[in-house]
Symmetry: C2
Subunit: 331 residues, 2 copies
């Protein structure tokens, strides 16, 4: 039996430690994407991301939405690097209970996810499996100067995000626990779960104009992703403004919930968290989308939140996959 | 419930029919790999292939062997196109019953499979799932003139293979049913299951010297792959010499088994089936590895076997995944 303490992070460490390293690998192990040099200063950029029905599918999510989301989630990692996705492959593990109509939904959702971002589904593989599995691979290419890495944030940089957080944490509680919220919040929060978007336009603009020093996709949750970004770059972050969605803030106040908690530990939000030189942050204001949230510090691996009551450590806690039964989970 | 008649082929058709086509796609849908133009007459070549524990893991196969085989099976598709694999990504669905030692075996098997063929595992994704899932994505690049497609065989070409068939069919029966066979055959047949090889050297040589007009990997079984190749190219094949492994032939004769059946419907053999102009076949003899088995005919989609007793149709039957329980399977 897996030890409860092993966890996804340790599993990834173990597997990574056993892989012989490619000499001159242009993007280090553990970044959002992998890359290979293909000549003329160009990189082939690769990413795979697996959706498993048991842990990743909230109640009420259609197969169309699930397969679309599997694509969006993979594209989001390319977006964080400023790389345009060109091709998508999808490996499917299909339970035998699926009908022809189910298969159509899956096929159509894959196509939609890809086409929304200008990519095409070029192929894949199908298998029978006990649980629905949708593994999406994405390919794009870019110049080596443009790709935005995870390990290149500098002390003194500013930290910014492409949007607000907290909707998915509420959305999951609405869907899974029947939490009652005002109608507008209900629509926004469940849309954040069922119909997420990837920040490709923003990522491409950041890369093209060399505005970001480092970047990460926030799908593992704001807090977790901040830690990952800080640790990869050997820096710390002091967050001044938590990017909490207005509707979440408003509702949390009335319902007696902790809005900061909802924003920090929600997950699957597909916003980008970027670091930028202060001048670049000013220039990026024209892009409209970026929100300043804090600064890069020299305190390696420390992520703090400054508020009126002082500075406190943000807990290094990630988004956890759905827990539908009582046994311990890998993540 | 899935209709018994739906089958993997129909599922792939449905999903493919729902994908918008990439304009100027250099490799048509349904070939062994997918490809994207990356400038300068170069193609990025992509393939994903999923191994599912329930259907793909024979008894007695270690996790090291399983993860290595998942890589080999993906590389085999690139080999069939004459493309050198450079990067491997692996998405893992891991049952929670796996121990740290199991995870190490999987990580180490992935690395071995990749390094045997000069590629590196650059990244991946891990998830919890009910069944073991290893989805391997491979990337390579090549020139557009060199890649060997599936739809370009011509009437009058010769058909050749890179090796003999029949060992895996016996190997599975040895492993799953306890079939008793002579020692040497036992070793060869079980090795074919547990430690398969991809024909990368042969595929690269065929591409480099422009020796093949078309090619396919035989992992779905000799008969099935012949049909796929013939149909893609709009031709037929007349097979004269079934490439049956000597030990299989010898044993089948003694045991009263049908050696042709074992060779035609075994599957997971990872040999290449290629078509070549007659002159190229002669030239290729220097390469040593290729065996002439028949000729390309104008009878579209017809695959026949010529023997002393006349010409008969080869049944269009594929390799079926393991059937461990009584319910109907997708494939």
């Amino acid at each position: 039996m897996i030890r409860h303490g092993l966890g996804e992070r340790r599993i990834i460490e173990i597997i990574m430690s056993l892989q012989e390293r490619m000499p001159g690998n242009p993007i280090p192990f553990g970044d959002d994407v992998s890359a290979v040099r293909i000549g003329g200063n160009r990189l082939a950029v690769l990413k795979c991301d697996m959706l498993v029905g048991m842990t990743d599918l909230p109640r009420g999510m259609s197969l169309w939405q699930a397969s679309r989301k599997a694509v969006i989630s993979t594209i989001s990692d390319l977006a964080a690097k400023g790389v345009r996705p060109q091709a998508i492959l999808a490996s499917l593990g299909l339970p035998r209970s699926l009908s022809e109509r189910d298969i159509r939904e899956i096929g159509s959702g894959l196509n939609s996810g890809a086409r929304e971002y200008g990519a095409y589904v070029l192929g894949g593989d199908t298998n029978e499996s006990k649980d629905l599995v949708i593994d999406v691979s994405a390919f794009g290419s870019c110049s080596e100067e443009e790709i935005i890495r995870r390990d290149t944030a500098n002390v003194g940089d500013k930290v910014a995000v492409t949007g607000d957080f907290g909707l998915t944490a509420l959305g999951l509680r609405i869907i899974e626990e029947g939490l009652k919220v005002p109608r507008r919040l209900m629509v926004e929060a469940t849309s954040a779960i069922f119909m997420p978007r990837a920040r490709l336009r923003e990522g491409l603009a950041l890369a093209k104009h060399h505005l970001a020093t480092a970047s990460i996709d926030s799908s593992d949750g704001l807090a977790w992703s901040l830690y990952e970004l800080a640790e990869s770059s050997g820096v710390g972050f002091e967050i001044e403004h938590l990017p909490i969605h207005n509707l979440v803030k408003e509702y949390a106040l009335k319902a007696g919930l902790d809005a900061a908690e909802l924003a920090l530990y929600g997950g699957e939000e597909y916003e980008l968290i970027v670091t930028m030189k202060p001048a670049a942050l000013k220039r990026s204001r024209k892009l409209g989308a970026l929100k300043y949230i804090g600064s890069v510090t020299g305190e390696e691996g420390r992520v703090t939140l400054r508020s009126e009551s002082g500075v406190c450590e943000i807990e290094r806690k990630g988004y956890e996959h759905l827990k539908r039964d009582s046994q311990p989970q890998l993540t």
